[in-house]
């Protein structure tokens, strides 16, 4: 790999560095780059520096302008990073495939005429930079090589890599860069934010995910999922049909347009197994499906399939788990 640094775009959510950046920094350390550096934009950036350093960033570029949260990230982020890219000349920028990560990478690609590859699962650097990604609902794996234009931009699926911190070392260098925000980006403002209160482990981090679909028939039945998930210290997910019906919030949606989860066990209850759903959960170590239709496509990828009524099975499961823990 040539001499320029590898950058990782880091996000801060609720005062915590989002896991994607730590996963990508861990991977970046193994790419043979001269330097691994992080970029963090927004009011919480300064507080993120230590954690980014512990995961391998030798320099963290921060810009703490409120515009990065009062406006949308894409335009202001790209305007701010463009001059920094011109002077620091990174080889490669790794982005978590989050909503803001995608917005920023798309903006930068068009602004600087840079190649961009999305949905990455792995990356290799040698004579060329090659990204492995998936298409068609994760049924096919594509390896794509970047041409000569630099920096190359690559977005990765959540959990493509496992984060690990380094033994204690020197604190990273912090470089504050001025925010550059074009007037046209001030036309789009975030006027309100809402975050549903969640209890238990985050969906993306839980070792057990119990998900419900249209087959649960009514929103009240999600209570049963919460009981089972609670007994397993897991989280509750949902198919889009359940989200669209207004039974549960979007933050619980698993799938192509929702979250990607990789738990030890995924229990799909009353979910048919549409490609757009399975994209988000097929990476689970084991999949259990409860569906009353023996032909449901979900059974094609389930390690254990139960043909039956989801509510009946879930009630029995709850009772059996209770008596075990009782």
């Amino acid at each position: 790999m040539a001499n320029g640094p590898v950058w990782v775009f880091a996000e801060v959510v609720d005062g915590r560095v989002a896991p994607g950046a730590l996963e990508l920094l861990t991977k970046a350390r193994s790419l043979g780059a001269a330097d691994v550096e992080a970029v963090c934009l927004g009011p919480g950036a300064r507080e993120a520096v230590g954690e980014l350093g512990r995961h391998g960033a030798s320099t963290v570029y921060i810009s703490i302008d409120a515009g990065f949260v009062e406006l949308l990230m894409g335009g202001p982020g790209a305007d701010t990073l463009a001059p920094l890219i011109a002077t620091r000349k990174p080889e490669l920028i790794l982005f978590p495939g989050t909503h803001d990560g995608r917005d920023l990478a798309g903006r930068l690609a068009a602004k600087l005429d840079l190649p961009v590859i999305a949905n990455g699962l792995d990356i290799e650097t040698g004579a060329a930079i090659t990204v492995t990604s998936t298409i068609f609902g994760v049924t096919q794996v594509v390896r794509t090589e970047f041409g000569e234009r630099r920096p190359a931009l690559a977005l990765f699926r959540p959990k493509a890599f496992t984060a690990s911190a380094l033994p204690a070392g020197p604190a990273p260098r912090t470089v504050e860069v001025p925010a550059v925000i074009d007037e046209r980006h001030r036309r789009a403002r975030v006027v309100d934010r809402s975050t549903p209160v969640a209890t238990g482990p985050a969906l993306e981090e839980a070792t057990v995910v119990v998900s419900g679909g249209r087959g649960l028939q009514e929103p009240a039945n999600f209570e049963l999922l919460h009981e089972v998930a609670g007994l397993l210290h897991g989280a509750v997910g949902a198919s889009r049909a359940a989200v669209d019906a207004g039974w549960v919030p979007y933050s619980m949606q698993v799938g192509q347009t929702g979250k990607t989860v990789k738990p030890t066990v995924y229990i799909a209850c009353g979910i048919s197994g549409a490609m757009q759903h399975t994209v988000g959960m097929r990476g689970a170590q084991a999949i259990v499906a409860i569906n009353r239709d023996p032909e449901a496509p979900i059974f094609k990828l389930a390690d254990l399939g139960i043909v039956g009524d989801a509510l009946t099975v879930l009630r029995q499961l709850r009772d059996e788990l209770r008596s075990r823990s009782g």
Partner: protein
Amino acid sequence: MNVVVCVKLVPDPNTPGQLDPETHRLRRDLADAVLDPGDEFGVEAGLQLAEAHGGEVRVVSMGPERAVDAVRKALAMGATKGVLVCDDSLRGADALTTAKVLAAAIRREPYDLVITATESTDGYSGIVPQALAELLGVPAVTFASEMSSDGSLLTATRQTERGSETVVTGLPCVVAVTAGVNEPRYPTLRGIMGVKSKPLERLTPTDLGLAASVPTPTGQTVVSVTMAGQRQAGEVVRDDGDGAHRIVELLARLRVI
């Protein structure tokens, strides 16, 4: 309000298509191709805004000749006219090339709003909406699960990983809608009959003045395509009252209990 909706022809998601291992391109003949189900929401959103505020819905697509079917479906739903940019040089185009072509086709006429899906169902890079907005020099609201407009400002609910944000933006802008933003209408018989009389232009990159800049020459090359390791179907059992117990056994084997 003049709305442009970007649409794509994709292999029917229920019978996913395959990449040709020789050419590394999509083998369109292998699968039935349809208007991307994700784009139907965009077409519907555009029609609703044009109906509320006056104006027309233009549909723009890039793809093989067959993509004309996707444009026709949008016309049958109620769009006024369509453009298909189609050329051999665009086969296997990457996200940035796609955005350049769409931007050039959109710019040919004045517009107030450009609507796309959040991502296509086949490639799902999700890069095109923001790249398009940058090329057009306008803001973009992605992951919009709701939107409304008074004709000069647009208010959208943007889904985030943890909840949602309310975004207010001036026009023109790009909005990438999520599936579920509305209930797409079915084309009526009258709509389908009317398609023939609606303007449907076919353009090439040369017509758009892009011959020199697309496809982006130093971009990226697909080097291999393989089938992903498929999950093997495991045991499927009928619940005779011991289904729950079977699950508990599995959980114990995996040491989660």
